[in-house]
């Protein structure tokens, strides 16, 4: 069953995730076949927080499907500066567009969408809470590489506390079998308790580490994240923790032949530029996959697949 809106990877089924992957794969193989699928449809692109890849790939996805877009990229140009609520913004958008993508620093917007949006609303990132479409393109990238997701050894490293891609990625991985998951973070940036509890309720086991060195030879995938400067309540903490996990070509000397590095981007200094040229880097291909996944999501949520 398709949920009305998409704000979490926790509340969607594995079957739905696989349907999205299958559709994305068809679109990727033959994009021209889908060029007019959304003719006459409008995507509202509501970005209350800065975005490069998510917004551009959603807008590109809608344009490639023959649809149109409206929206804003800066909350300062919307009526929120006049104190308008998210609920009222969504009530209005119901009549202006057929589907919407919303990015907001406020968490829990999904429940507001449930109550006030009559059109499908997809999260483009919600505070530190979740970033479900990123997780779907992350898993799609893994699946393309390894022809499946089960039985892989995956390391997730960096800012597990504030990174919104992390909960979505873990909730999505939890749907697959026999994942050997390692979470690598300093104690100050470890996984939020509520996310750990959700995983525990789901019976999804993981190992926590502080050091990448010992486990990197066993990994198939290393998922890196940026330390989320903008979400630190105290800038002093950010200065202390930035650069705590950086990898260079030296760190990937003893990895498996098929080992890959993913990153939701933007990166700051956590992956040395020299790694870009190695056979292990996949983060740019990963970003390209965002368009196929978002095209598939738009089609699915509009019932045009």
């Amino acid at each position: 069953m398709i949920p009305k809106h998409l704000f979490s990877t926790r509340t969607i089924s594995k079957d739905f995730v696989e349907q999205i992957f299958s559709l994305a794969s068809k679109i990727e193989a033959n994009p021209d076949q889908f060029a007019d699928k959304c003719k006459g449809k409008i995507l509202a692109s509501l970005f209350f927080e800065p975005s490069t890849r998510t917004r551009l790939s959603f807008e590109s996805a809608m344009l490639r499907l023959g649809g149109q877009i409206l929206g804003f990229t800066d909350a300062k140009v919307s009526s929120t500066v006049k104190g308008e609520s998210i609920a009222d913004t969504l009530r209005m958008i119901n009549h202006y567009s057929d589907i919407a993508v919303i990015r907001h620093y406020i968490e829990g917007v999904g429940e507001i969408a449930k109550k006030f949006a009559s059109i499908p609303v997809i999260s483009g990132g919600t505070g530190s809470q979740e970033h479900p479409t990123q997780a779907l393109l992350d898993l799609y990238s893994i699946k393309k590489e390894f022809k499946g997701i089960d039985n892989l050894s995956i390391g997730v490293m960096g800012d597990l506390l504030y990174g919104r891609t992390i909960p979505s990625l873990l909730f999505a991985l939890a749907k697959y079998d026999n994942i050997d998951l390692h979470l690598i973070a300093p104690p100050a940036l470890k996984l939020r308790k509520n996310v750990a509890l959700r995983l525990k309720e789901n019976g999804f086991k993981f190992n926590t580490e502080e050091n990448l060195k010992d486990i990197i030879p066993d990994l198939d995938v290393l998922y890196m994240t940026r330390i989320q400067k903008e979400r630190f309540p105290d800038p002093v903490d950010y200065e202390r923790l930035k650069g705590v996990y950086q990898i260079s070509t030296e760190d990937i000397k003893n990895v498996k032949d098929r080992f890959i590095i993913l990153h939701p981007l933007p990166r700051v200094d956590e992956i040395d530029y020299a790694i870009d040229k190695t056979k292990h880097s996949r983060y740019f291909e990963q970003a390209h996959n965002g368009v196929w996944i978002r095209m598939a999501l738009i089609l699915k949520y509009l019932g045009l697949d």
Binding site: S85, I86, E107, Q129, N194
Partner: protein, 156 residues
């Protein structure tokens, strides 16, 4: 107020609420969450750490002219899950309620997360699922964050 043979003797109230079997030392907190202070116009009797057969020690509160709302009893259940609420009409116990921690609460306490939509200016009320009763842990329906006993003790 006097005590004899483990029995508490306090003036009976004509109409109101008697909250019995309160964990010892929690009576003042209960008055606070019920919004009863020195301006309350009717009789309030308070007994702290009196002998109890079932609990060894307990607190008791009698409040004349007060009927508890369902939200009041929800809050009581979190602070004093052992307590009983007796509704008194014309000196008699008309109804006795045993408190039970609910599975879900609304408009009860603010979410711990300052970025939660329930703390923003939106047409909704805060909403939580109870994920654990002992230790008490609530989970925000909106942002999924957990409210632990330490936070709740400070806020309730």
């Amino acid at each position: 107020m006097s005590e004899s043979n483990d029995k508490l003797i306090v003036t009976k109230i004509k109409d109101g609420t008697v909250i019995d079997r309160i964990p010892p030392g929690k009576a003042l907190k209960i008055l606070e969450i019920l919004g009863i202070d020195s301006n309350y116009p009717y009789t309030v009797a308070l007994a702290i750490r009196v002998p109890s057969r079932k609990m060894k020690l307990k607190d008791v509160v009698k409040i004349r002219g007060k009927a508890l709302t369902s939200q009041d009893t929800q809050k009581l259940s979190f602070i004093a899950p052992t307590a009983t609420v007796n509704i008194i009409v014309d000196y008699k116990v008309q109804e006795k309620q045993y408190l039970k921690i609910p599975e879900h609460v609304e408009d009860f306490v603010d979410c711990v997360n300052p970025n939660c939509v329930s703390n923003a200016h939106e047409p909704i009320v805060s909403s939580f699922d109870v994920v654990s009763k002992d230790p008490l842990i609530l989970r925000c329906v909106y942002c999924d964050r957990l409210l632990d006993k330490k936070y709740l003790n400070r806020k309730l």
